[in-house]
C-alpha cells in the first residue's frame, strides 16, 4: 500500500477543522465570532457528513457546556472562539479541569480588551489562556505559527487532551487563522491518534476518579452499569462531594496538576532555527515567530549571530527549554503582539532581563522592527 501525501492550499481555520475531524472529533458547538467563524462554518458542513453533530448554541457559555456534555458522553468534542467568547467560556473550562473531561478550545486571538480590534490580530490572550478561570487548575496551551502547524497542533491538542483528560487550548491568532498557504497533509494512516483510556474494571469496582501513577483516571461510558456521580465540587475517588475533607481536597488538586508534570516532556513542543552559535536568542510564538525567523536571517546577513526558539507549547511554560537555549546568548529578545505577557515567564526562567518588542495596534510585528530593535541593543553595547 502506498502512502499518499496531499498538498493543499488552505486557510488556517480550515486546517484546524480538517485536522480536528482526522483526530476524531464528532461534536462541535460554537457561537459566531470573527476571526474564528470559519471553523464553525466548516464544522456545520462536515460534522453531519462524518456522523457527528454540529450545533450553534445561544452563547459561548452554552457552547463549551455542550462540548463538555458531549465529551462526558465519551466523544471527542471542540469549540472555537476569539477573546471575548473565550472569556465567557472560562467558568466551564475550570469545570472541565476539575472533572477530568477532555476537550479542545480554539482561541483565534484578536485585539482587545473587550471587542477591541474585532478583525485584527493580537496575542493578548496568553495569560487568559493560562489563568482565565479561577482556582489552581491545570491547562495545556499550544500555539501555531503556520497553517501547517495549525493542522499538526490541532491533532496534538486532541491527543494531549485525551491522554491527560484535560482541556487543551489551541491559541491561534487572526494571522494564522486567515492566511492561506501550502499544507502537506500526511497519509491518514500515519497520523498518530490517542484516545482516552477506558476502564476494564466491572462497575462495582470502578472508581471514576481513582488514578494510577500518571494521575489520569480511566473513563467509563454511561448506560452500561457505570452509574457514577460527577460534581464540580471537590470530590473523592468515587466522585461524591467532599467539601469539608481537607485531605481529599489536597489530593485531588495535586493529582490534577500531576497529570501535566507527569507528561511534561511529551506535551512540550518547540522548534529552533539557527540557534547553534547564536549570541542573540529570539523567543517567539504564533504569527510573531514568522517575522522572527526572517529577522534571524536578516541579522545574520548583517553579521549578528541570531537564532530563534519558537515555542509551540506555551503552557505549561517550557522553562527548562528556554533556560537551556538562552545560556550562551548574550541577548534574549521576546517580540509579542501584546504589552508583554510571555516575556515575564522568560525572564523568570533566565534570571535576567529580556529585550521586549511589543505591538498592540492590530499589525504584525515586522522582521525589520525586530532587526532594528536588536541592532539598537548592539549599538549601545
Amino acid at each position: 500500500m502506498s502512502l499518499k501525501e496531499d498538498v493543499r492550499f488552505m486557510q488556517g481555520n480550515e486546517a484546524i477543522a480538517e485536522a480536528a475531524i482526522l483526530a476524531g472529533v464528532r461534536f462541535f458547538a460554537g457561537y459566531p465570532i470573527t476571526p474564528a467563524t470559519e471553523i464553525a462554518e466548516m464544522m456545520a458542513l462536515r460534522m453531519p457528513q462524518v456522523g457527528g453533530v454540529f450545533i450553534q448554541m445561544e452563547d459561548e457559555i452554552a457552547s463549551i457546556a455542550a462540548v463538555i456534555g458531549a465529551s462526558m458522553a465519551g466523544f471527542k468534542a471542540m469549540t472555537a472562539t476569539s477573546g471575548p467568547g473565550f472569556t465567557l467560556m472560562q467558568e466551564n473550562l475550570g469545570y472541565a479541569t476539575i472533572v477530568d473531561i477532555p476537550c479542545v478550545i480554539v482561541d483565534v486571538q484578536r485585539g482587545g480588551p473587550s471587542t477591541g480590534l474585532p478583525t485584527l490580530p493580537a496575542q493578548g490572550d496568553v495569560m487568559q489562556a493560562r489563568w482565565g478561570t479561577h482556582g489552581d487548575h491545570p491547562i495545556v496551551v499550544l500555539c501555531p505559527a503556520t497553517v501547517q502547524e495549525a493542522f499538526e497542533l490541532t491533532i496534538e491538542a486532541f491527543n494531549i487532551s485525551e491522554l491527560i483528560r484535560n482541556p487543551v487550548i489551541l491559541l491561534s491568532d487572526a494571522v494564522v487563522g486567515h492566511v492561506r498557504e501550502k499544507v502537506t497533509l500526511p497519509d491518514p494512516s500515519r497520523i498518530r491518534i490517542v484516545n482516552r483510556r477506558v476502564t476494564n474494571l466491572p462497575p462495582e469496582q470502578y472508581k471514576p476518579f481513582a488514578a494510577g501513577p500518571d494521575g489520569v483516571p480511566d473513563f467509563a461510558y454511561r448506560g452500561k452499569g457505570y452509574r457514577y456521580h460527577v460534581t464540580s465540587n471537590v470530590h473523592d475517588e468515587e466522585g461524591f462531594p467532599a467539601t469539608y475533607n481537607h485531605k481529599v481536597a489536597n489530593e485531588l488538586i495535586r493529582r490534577l496538576h500531576k497529570k501535566i508534570e507527569f507528561y511534561r516532556k511529551e506535551i512540550t513542543y518547540y522548534k529552533t532555527y539557527r540557534v547553534e552559535d547564536s549570541d542573540v536568542l529570539i523567543v517567539a510564538y504564533g504569527c510573531t515567530a514568522r517575522s522572527a525567523k526572517d529577522a534571524v536571517n536578516m541579522l545574520r546577513e548583517g553579521g549578528i549571530r541570531a537564532g530563534l526558539l519558537q515555542l509551540q507549547t506555551l503552557w505549561p511554560f517550557p522553562g527548562e527549554v528556554v533556560e537551556g537555549y538562552a545560556k550562551r546568548a548574550k541577548v534574549v529578545v521576546v517580540p509579542e503582539m501584546n504589552m508583554g505577557q510571555l516575556v515575564g515567564e522568560v525572564e523568570r526562567c533566565i534570571c535576567r532581563k529580556a529585550v521586549r518588542i511589543n505591538r498592540v495596534d492590530g499589525k504584525m510585528i515586522s522582521p525589520w522592527e525586530i532587526v532594528d530593535a536588536i541592532k539598537e541593543v548592539f549599538s549601545h553595547a
Binding site: 453531519p48 445561544e58 457559555i61 463538555i68 458531549a70 462526558m72 458522553a73
Partner: protein, 274 residues
Amino acid sequence: MLDIKKYLRLSKLPHIWCPGCGNGSVVRALIMAVDKLGLSKDEIVLFTGIGCSARTNVIVDFNTIQTTHGRTLAFATGFKLMRPDMKVIVITGDGDGAAIGGNHLIHAARRNIDITTILINNSIYGMTGGQYSPLSPQGTYATTAPYGNIEPSFDICKLVEAAGATFIARSTVYHIQLTADLIAKAIAHKGFSFIEVVSQCPVGYGRRNRMRTPYEMLMWQKEHAVLVQQAQRYSLEEMKDKFLIGELFVNKEKREYTELYEELRRKLAEGGEG
C-alpha cells in the same frame, strides 16, 4: 409497592437539606415516575446545576452529573445529542433555572430537544441563605429584599411555552401523586418537557414571609393550587391569588431536535444535500 431503596444511594443519606424542605419529596416523585415507567437506572442521566436542587442527584442511583450554575441544560444538550438513546432529565431551581440559566432554558425549549426539566420553585435562593429570585412574588421578603421585593416575577410555565416547549405542567409538593404522574408523562413525551414543582423553603422563605412551619407552607400550596380541569369553577377574581396545576400545554406535532438532526445525517449519507 414501590421499593424506593432500590433507587437510592443509601450510603449518601442522610441528605443535607433543612427539615421541612420540599426537595426530598420531589426526589420521591421522580422515583415514583421512573418506577411507573419501568425504566432501568442505567438509561437515566440526571443532570443538576448549583443550589439546593442540585443536591437531588447525589442521593439517587442513576447516572448523575452536577454541572455549573445555570448551565445544566447546555451540558445536557451536548450529552443528549451524542446519546439520544438515554433518558436525560434535568432538575433545577428557580434561581438556577430561571435566573442564571434562563437563557439556556428558553433555547432548549425552542429547539424542542428531548430533555425533561423539573424546576423546583421554592421562590428563594436557599443554599446562599434566602435571596429573592425571578420567581419570588412581588412584595415578599428576602435577605436581599429587606423592604419587600419590588420586582415582578415570571410565570415560568408561560415563558417556556412561548419559547417552544411541547409539554408543560405544574404541580406542588403537597400534590405529590400528581407530581409523580406529571413527571412520568413528561419523561414519556418526545420533545422538551417542563414541570414546575411549587415547593417550600421554611428556613429561607417561610420564616420571612409569615409561614413559619412546613405545615403552613404545604397548606398554602393546597389552598392556592387549582387543578386545571377545575379552573372554570372559579371566577377571574377568585383566581387572582391562585395558580393552575396539572397538564398545562401539550404539542405533539412539533418535531424533536435529535430526530431532526438524525434525519439530516441520513439524507446526507444517502447522497442528498440535506
